[in-house]
């Protein structure tokens, strides 16, 4: 086991406000006479306190900051986010969409609309749903789409006052309960049973004439699949509620199951996760929301409609509300279309197989490491795309936490693993997701590094505790940034608080 002698670039690059010189310019615009064009009382009196820099200074500053970011150049198995290769052919081609204005006539963007419609058809094929919208600007926004459609659907049936509760599980992504609550629903969160999913009895106890919807992930981010999900959906629909499938963890089950076949009314896919679109550090993203024909009239529009090879835009008749202006992040939809076309059905099946295979291979190796356990040991079937591990034993025996392990692993070019959404159901959780983009050598390296760090934790815990050592900066101090006297999101606030 030879570990890489990685070391992050360290430029000691100052803050942007600390560089430059008065009078320097990074962009010129043609001079113009605007005298008298700003109404009295609305003129800016003092120039904004912005840095003054030349163009090359700005370029080098931000290039250095990019070098001080590990990104996907290291190995990132950030669980739940499904780290993917972002095909450069799609990234490159999508640049030709940069100049499209969303309000330009549909006839002038037929190629883009063809790709949007093409991806709609592909997602219909993968889900069995009748129609997709790409307006939601992320997975959480797609959950929000479900919440607003749920509101409109029950209101249209005269049951808006009655159906006030949305049911979810402790293992659903936080966006599900959070968007439900924002939309005005009461949230019922089902705890997990011993197999890692809530029991049917728990669901039955929660269901009633006041249930508006179920919002659920399956498999969840522990790789546990609820084998009773069809019965769940049947009961939810029998109660007059809607069943929404948060397919955040679709990677392991692509081409294996379809949301509509399981009875769901709606589902969502994250194009910036499962479908190969660049994540941008957290967007622009797309939550592709698909639903049955029964819910389609409530979808946020406009939607792309194909007729005789021509594409036009159409707003659904009972549109619940828009969840984003215009049609959404269409350049990302185009990239997802490119990825899906490069994969094809066989490629998607292969990616699913490989992501589950690699997760199980990782699990086999990780469970041999001292101090590593996994959640729900009674759940003996192979996990799907992820496994929830615990470093609780390591913590008890060495005092080293999962966050400290994460920091030390970064010293070897391994970026953070995912810990767990709140609430933690195992102590010191960690959740790597192997996916299909990393080679076996990458995965083995990742495991070797963890093994090395665990070994260090037992031999020399202080070395791990003080990590990272090879990064741009050391670990954060315990300065309390939840204290208003300490926090600063801007240079001005920082300067004032320093004074």
């Amino acid at each position: 086991m030879t570990l890489r002698r990685y070391h992050a670039a360290r430029w000691d690059e100052p803050l942007i406000h600390q560089i430059g010189a008065p009078g320097r310019r990074g962009q010129h615009f043609p001079p113009a006479d605007a005298a008298g064009l700003v109404p009295a009382g609305l003129q800016r009196q003092t120039p904004p306190d912005l840095p003054e820099l030349s163009e090359p200074e700005v370029l080098n500053h931000y290039l250095r900051l990019s070098q001080q970011t590990m990104g996907m150049i290291g190995v990132s198995l950030f669980g739940t986010c499904t780290m993917k290769y972002n095909p450069r052919v799609g990234e490159q081609a999508a640049r030709r969409l940069a100049g499209i204005h969303p309000a330009q006539p549909a006839e002038t963007m037929q190629g883009l609309l063809a790709a949007v419609h093409g991806l709609d058809l592909i997602l219909r094929g993968l889900s069995g749903m009748d129609r997709f919208t790409f307006q939601a600007a992320g997975g959480a926004d797609a959950a929000w789409t479900q919440a607003v459609i749920t509101r409109a659907y029950h209101a249209a049936r005269g049951q808006g006052q009655q159906r006030t509760k949305i049911i979810t599980s402790l293992q659903s992504h936080p966006c599900n309960p959070a968007t439900a609550a924002t939309a005005g629903f009461e949230v019922i969160t089902l705890p997990l049973g011993e197999n890692g999913y809530p029991s049917l009895d728990m669901l039955k106890a929660a269901l009633g004439p006041d249930t508006a919807a179920l919002m659920i992930n399956n498999p969840d981010d522990m790789g546990v699949y609820n084998p009773e999900i069809m019965e769940w959906v049947r009961l939810v629909k029998q109660a007059g509620a809607l069943a929404f499938y948060d397919h955040a963890n679709f990677n392991g089950v692509m081409t294996k199951i379809r949301a509509a076949d399981l009875g769901f009314d709606a589902c969502m896919f994250m194009l910036h996760k499962t479908f190969g679109v660049s994540k941008g550090g957290g967007g622009p993203a797309v939550g592709a929301y698909g639903c049955t024909a029964e819910l389609a009239p409530f979808m946020p529009g406009p939607l792309v409609v194909e007729e005789d090879g021509a594409y036009r835009l159409e707003t659904p008749p009972q549109q619940a509300a828009k969840v984003r202006e215009y049609l959404g992040n269409l350049q990302q939809v185009f990239k997802a279309y490119a990825w899906a076309r490069a994969m094809g059905a066989e490629g998607l099946a292969e990616a699913s197989d490989l992501s589950v295979l690699l997760n199980n291979y990782m699990e086999m190796r990780l469970l041999t490491l001292r101090g590593v356990t996994r959640s729900h040991p009674g759940q003996t079937s192979p996990r799907l795309e992820m496994t929830r591990y615990s470093l609780g034993t390591l913590f008890d025996e060495t005092g080293i936490s999962a966050v400290e392990v994460q920091n030390r692993m970064a010293d070897f070019g391994i970026d953070a693993f995912w810990l767990s959404h709140e609430p933690w159901i195992v102590p010191q959780p960690f959740t790597p997701e192997a996916g299909e983009m990393w080679s076996r050598e990458d995965i083995d390296y990742w495991i070797d590094v963890l093994a090395h760090v665990i070994d260090e934790a037992y031999r020399d815990p202080d070395h791990v505790r003080r990590a990272p050592h090879n990064q741009v900066v050391a670990k954060l101090s315990d300065r309390d940034i939840n204290d208003p006297a300490n926090w600063a999101t801007t240079w001005a606030a920082w300067q004032r608080k320093l004074a």
């Binding site: 803050l15 700005v58 970011t69 081609a93 094929g125 192979p382 990458d442």
Partner: protein, 460 residues
């Protein structure tokens, strides 16, 4: 043939590698790994999808064939705006947002993400300087999403549920806001009261004063207004809000703040707006991004739904960055958090940070003056076109409402003729005979004259 080859995106699809991995698990195929899924749930055949284009040359040909069927407005002469605008994107910005370190990852550790976190902090710092406000959150989806969250913040801060909103607001934005204002729980619903506006979208402070009362959670105005007017009543609107104990929320395009008084100096409590104008292409609507900003006051900080990136220190005393008040986000508290957050438009924070650094105070002053001057030039020139009336009273920025009633022509026909006969994308239809035309630094006087001549011909 293609199926037996390893897929270019999947290193472990090489037959030998996959077989070896299966061998480690004592398997010859992957099927046993899916044992959790009951057979009755399984799809029996592969879904019918279009054939794979695993060869980049074939895929590229297909993609560019599609792209050839587009005619991007921004590649020619376009006057489309109304919430997403064609502004010049400096080449340096495109290079920085294309850096793989920023483009492809999501989260790392505070140390491995250090550079990216610094860029984010420089985004909030520079935006705060333009706004004259010291607390700025990481970006949200759009101006509409920002306004929706801000209205809910105001409702929580005041315990009231009525928001006064200009009637002349972007319908796209309003449709998004309505989603945030509505509630399945009638007691939680926000009522939006649309207040009358003049021809350039400016509110009538006397009318707002008459509408504001003890139920008013916030008065919301935009600067510049949707129809281009600079909000001359800003100070008065803030005074009215203060008088009834309501919040003042301003929607603002930061691009004008080199020349226009910032929200921080106009008595604004919560500022929202777009970041698309700060170095982001329109991307068919995918260039949108929004922000929320306030005074650095714990009472306001406690209501932010966004992630908040604070300066802090490392154990050895270096500057570093960390998320503050994480517990109040939906990641921290699920349904008990403030609204919700998730993936957003963080790459555009990188674009905007770079853009603001390139412009500096002089660049923002220049671009503001240039857009004011170009808008004035266009207003004067277009007023000379027979059949066109231009709304441009009292200070306008970038947008002009053109009324074609006197010409007898409708916007749809005019825009079709402009495009077909002159290759010009006309403005956004506001009414059958009214359209909103946008003029930015990308339009020089010659192109405005081109529009004037084309309109003269079309309306003749």
């Amino acid at each position: 043939m293609a199926q037996s080859r390893a897929h270019p995106f999947m290193p472990n699809s090489a037959a030998g590698v996959k077989a070896a991995l299966l061998g480690e698990l004592g398997l010859t195929g992957t099927e046993p790994l899916f044992a959790q899924i009951p057979a009755s749930h399984r799809l029996r055949a592969l879904p019918d999808l279009p054939p794979a284009l695993t060869s980049e040359v074939a895929l590229s040909r297909h993609l560019h064939g599609l792209l050839d069927r587009n005619r991007p407005a921004g590649d020619g002469l376009s006057f489309l705006g109304g919430g997403i605008w064609q502004h010049h994107v400096p080449a340096v910005v495109d290079e920085i947002v294309g850096r793989a370190e920023f483009l492809t990852p999501v989260w790392g550790t505070p140390s491995s993400d250090f550079g990216r976190n610094q860029v984010w902090w420089e985004f909030t710092s520079q935006l705060g300087a333009l706004l004259g406000l010291e607390l700025v959150g990481l970006p949200v989806y759009s101006w509409g999403a920002a306004a929706g969250h801000a209205f809910r913040m105001a409702a929580r801060l005041t315990g009231r549920n009525r928001i006064i909103v200009p009637a002349a607001i972007s319908p796209e934005r309003l449709a998004v806001i309505e989603g945030y204002a509505h509630s399945a729980d009638a007691a939680m619903r926000l009522d939006m009261v649309l207040a009358p506006c003049d021809a350039v979208g400016r509110l009538d402070p006397a009318a707002v004063a008459a509408l504001a009362d003890a139920h008013t959670a916030a008065i919301y105005y935009e600067n510049p207004a949707y129809l281009g007017g600079l909000e001359t009543g800003a100070a008065e609107l803030a005074a009215i809000a203060a008088r009834v104990g309501a919040q003042t929320i301003s929607g603002v395009d930061p691009l004008c703040l080199g020349v226009i008084a910032p929200p921080g100096e106009l008595g604004v409590d919560i500022a929202v707006g777009t970041i698309q104008t700060l170095g982001v292409h329109s991307h068919a609507g995918g260039g949108l991004g929004g922000f929320i900003a306030t005074r650095d006051d714990p009472r306001y900080a406690a209501e932010y739904p966004t992630l908040l990136n604070s300066l802090t220190t490392t154990v050895d005393g270096q500057l570093a960055f960390g998320l503050m008040l994480f517990h109040q986000s939906s990641y921290g508290s699920r349904e008990l958090g403030k609204d919700w957050t998730g993936n957003s438009t963080y790459l555009w924070a990188v674009a905007a940070a770079t853009y603001m650094a390139l412009l500096g105070p002089a660049g923002f002053a220049e671009i503001g003056q240039l857009i004011l001057a170009r808008t004035r030039f266009a207003a004067t020139a277009l007023a000379g076109v027979p059949g066109v009336q231009v709304a441009a009273s009292g200070g306008v920025f970038r947008e002009l409402l053109l009324d074609f009633s006197a010409s007898g022509h409708g916007v749809a026909a005019i825009n079709a003729a402009l495009l077909d006969r002159h290759g010009i994308f006309g403005g956004i239809e506001i009414a059958p005979q009214q359209a909103l035309f946008a003029f930015t630094e990308c339009h020089d006087e010659a192109t405005i004259v081109q529009l004037v001549e084309a309109l003269t011909e079309v309306l003749a």
